[in-house]
């Protein structure tokens, strides 16, 4: 339930294995091979980066918080496990997910205002009439079977702060790692506490020495993670690891006692590393063009 992740609909209905997720996506492709070859789209993660940037723009002039954006991103992901993206107007889905997430996270925005903002950003894809968003809201809620309460890792992170005496730098970095994990499939694959633990480990182990400041993304640490990190991660599995400094040893000791699924933590760290690798290919222009062509050719905005 709301406080109990273990009994939640998120755990019961919205957690997938990698295989299942791949199967779902393959079945979309099978169903409409023509559309897939006619409308190629960037890597899912690159699209997610694009969606996230658009969401941030949309939320800019409204009093929204990170958690509402995170919830919107989860809604979009859930929706696209039920619907082929090539049959939707992603800009409409994005706007609607944002509108719905704001209500759910108790920072509601009026539909007219949301549509107005969305139209300001993407005039060619969003109709002035609010009924499109209203209709898409039905579709979103229906596909999610009204299971709209999302458990985020942010809460676990703040619970871990005193327990692991994390510094404010570490918290800030872990927070950005959590922000970044929504750009991957991780929120459909692992429970929020696994992600929170992963974020803490990344923050503590790979803390960049220079104060570069991480606004929004933790991508700058990607290099460090690639180069030296994986062997430290390997040490997490091996409780007796002698090498790492005391700060990290303490973390390892805590992990060993905590019964957190270490394998899942390591896998999600790898997922994050590969996100930062693929990020280098990101081109906003490319995403925009491909999506624009899709929506316009198929008249998905009508």
């Amino acid at each position: 339930m709301a406080a109990n992740y273990w009994a939640s609909t998120q755990r019961r209905h919205w957690l997938f294995t990698r295989e299942r997720l791949a199967e779902i996506r393959e079945s979309f492709k099978e169903k409409d091979k023509a559309a897939h070859s006619q409308f190629p789209l960037p890597d899912q993660r690159l699209l997610n980066i694009y969606f996230n940037q658009q969401l941030i723009k949309l939320g800019k002039r409204m009093a929204t918080r990170q958690q509402a954006l995170a919830t919107a991103q989860v809604y979009i992901k859930r929706y696209y496990t039920k619907n082929e993206i090539r049959n939707t107007n992603p800009y409409l889905v994005l706007t609607t997910a944002f509108y719905l997430a704001c209500k759910m996270e108790e920072c509601p925005q009026h539909i007219r205002f949301v549509v107005g903002e969305a139209r300001g950003l993407w005039p060619e894809f969003i109709a002035p009439d609010v009924s499109k968003v209203g209709e898409c809201e039905f579709s979103l809620i229906s596909e999610m079977q009204a299971q709209m309460i999302v458990h985020h890792p942010y809460r676990t992170l703040s619970e871990l702060q005193p327990e692991l005496s994390l510094t404010s730098d570490e918290i800030a970095l872990a927070w950005s790692v959590i922000n970044d994990h929504y750009l991957t499939d991780l929120s459909l694959l692992y429970p929020p506490h696994v992600i929170a633990v992963m974020a803490v480990i990344v923050a503590v182990v790979f803390k960049p020495s220079s104060q570069t400041g991480f606004h929004g993304s933790a991508a700058p640490i990607a290099g460090a993670m690639r180069d030296g990190g994986m062997n430290i991660l390997a040490a997490l599995g091996d409780k007796g690891g002698a090498g790492p400094p005391p700060r990290i040893q303490k973390l390892i000791a805590w992990l060993a006692e905590s019964e957190v699924d270490i394998k899942a933590v390591i896998e999600s760290t790898q997922e994050l590393v590969s996100l930062y690798e693929v990020w280098e290919q990101y081109s906003e222009k490319n995403c925009k063009e491909l999506l624009g062509r899709l929506v316009k050719s198929k008249s998905l905005d009508k």
Partner: protein
């Protein structure tokens, strides 16, 4: 788009209002109008639009109308196609622009209720069967409950007052607190507990209903106050809310439980105030009359029994209220003890009588529920461990166990109102002696 603040909504399954003769033809015309409305909407749908994968009328047979409120209407239904059982379908009315029903975005309370009901699962919380979004309407399909506390209390005033047996009160209260503990441990505040929202199945199980105002209370992004300025039907509204508190807590629900406990014993609302209307500037007025009703029984709150009171936004209002009365016209100390003794006496509650008595333990629990100070008010967890429940033997999960009487079934009407206009008042109870105030008192503000 409805941006006005409509009158109160009733519980999803609350007792219906007008006794209307049910005739076959009326029932048929109700069904026809429902179907006509549905078909009309589907014709309007375009190819690319949203269409529901499940259709309400394919799965459920509507047998009658239960109640209505600003949110829409509640119907009684039977499952079709081998899906047995009785259901209460709560239909949220769509907004209209002119004659055409438009998608205008769902209300936050509908969103909350859908999300929470999908997540909750407890024997003492109303059970959701499914949600169907179809033709611009939301249909929330709940299990059907035959009774509710409002109807049970009312039954005990007819034809003359006869008390609800003490064991039944104890079972009701235990189950209610048990459901509330579940909600609170899951960070859900109900915020609108009242007899009409406490549903009772024919096998005597209590189900907390109407989560339309419920919300999660951990780390709210905005103050819990900002979303909807006033919550909880005024008679059950906690003193800290009346005093303008912005940071309210699960304690508001426990105050309401105290009020319900008292009402089960006395068969009358314990604090039956009149709601002060909001002025044209939409500022929330100080609820002087309601506060006075509480003071009459509980005494004037002070720094001793409520240290935080001096920091309450309406503290000055309270002081001027106290000053405006002659000293001997305002009670400085609690009269709850004598209220309770009177109540037992009038109800015929005693160890020797057939209805039994809630006794001194009952009084202690009541006074802990009606504690002015929200920080010391008993919690659901503590209340369940109170001697009132610990002493006096086992508590049945069937509140009707050992009860000889029979309660009437929920009234189902078959009169044909246009199902697309849900403008009927919410919790109005015609025929009840206390009806005159109910329409006004039940009003509250929704976002």
């Amino acid at each position: 788009m409805s941006l006005t603040n409509p009158p109160s909504s009733s519980g999803p399954l609350s007792a219906t209002t007008r006794p209307t003769a049910a005739t076959v033809s009326q029932s048929l015309s109700l069904k026809r109008s429902l179907q006509a409305a549905v078909e009309e909407n589907s014709r309007r749908q375009t190819g690319t639009g949203y269409t529901s994968k499940v259709r309400v009328r394919d799965k459920y047979h509507i047998v009658g109308f239960i109640s209505s409120g600003t949110y829409g209407r509640v119907y009684k239904a039977l499952g079709r196609n081998g899906q047995g059982g009785e259901f209460a379908i709560k239909k949220f009315k769509p907004d209209k622009e002119g004659d055409i029903i438009q998608y205008t975005g769902l209300s936050q309370s509908a969103i909350r209720e859908m999300a929470l009901c999908s997540e909750l699962d407890h024997a003492n919380v109303v059970q959701l069967a499914e949600i169907i979004l179809e033709d611009k309407c939301i249909f929330m399909v709940f299990e059907y409950t035959e009774h509710d506390l409002l109807q049970i209390i009312h039954h005990h005033t007819q034809p003359q007052r006869h008390p609800i047996p003490a064991t039944m009160v104890r079972s009701i209260l235990f189950q209610l607190l048990n459901g509330l503990l579940y909600l609170h441990t899951n960070w859900v505040l109900h915020r609108d507990l009242k007899p009409a929202n406490i549903l009772v199945t024919s096998s005597g199980a209590i189900r907390i209903g109407d989560l339309g105002l419920a919300r999660l209370f951990y780390k709210p992004l905005n103050s819990l106050f900002s979303g909807d300025k006033v919550v909880v039907t005024i008679w059950y509204r906690a003193p800290e809310l009346l005093m303008g508190s912005r940071h309210y807590t699960p304690a508001v629900d426990l105050w309401a439980v105290g009020c319900i406990f008292a009402e089960l014993l006395s068969l009358r609302p314990i604090f039956k105030g009149e709601e002060a209307k909001m002025d044209s500037k939409k500022t929330v007025p100080f609820q002087r009359n309601q506060m006075m009703k509480i003071i009459d029984i509980m005494g004037l709150p002070n720094k001793e029994n409520w240290p935080g009171i001096v920091h309450m936004p309406e503290f000055n209002q309270l002081q001027s209220l106290a000053m405006s009365r002659a000293p001997n016209h305002i009670s400085r100390t609690s009269n709850l003890g004598s209220w309770y003794q009177n109540c037992l006496k009038n109800g015929g509650y005693s160890p020797a009588s057939s209805v039994g008595t809630p006794g001194d333990d009952g009084f202690d629990l009541l006074s802990r529920l009606l504690d002015y100070d929200p920080t010391t008010r008993i919690t659901a967890q503590e209340a369940l461990e109170h001697p009132y429940f610990k002493n006096g033997g086992p508590i049945s999960a069937n509140c009707f166990e050992g009860f000889e009487g029979k309660y009437p079934h929920r009234r189902i009407t078959h009169d044909d109102n246009d199902i697309r206009t849900g403008s009927l008042p919410g919790t109005k109870r015609s025929g009840l002696p206390d009806d005159s105030l109910m329409g006004r008192a039940a009003k509250r503000l929704k976002e």
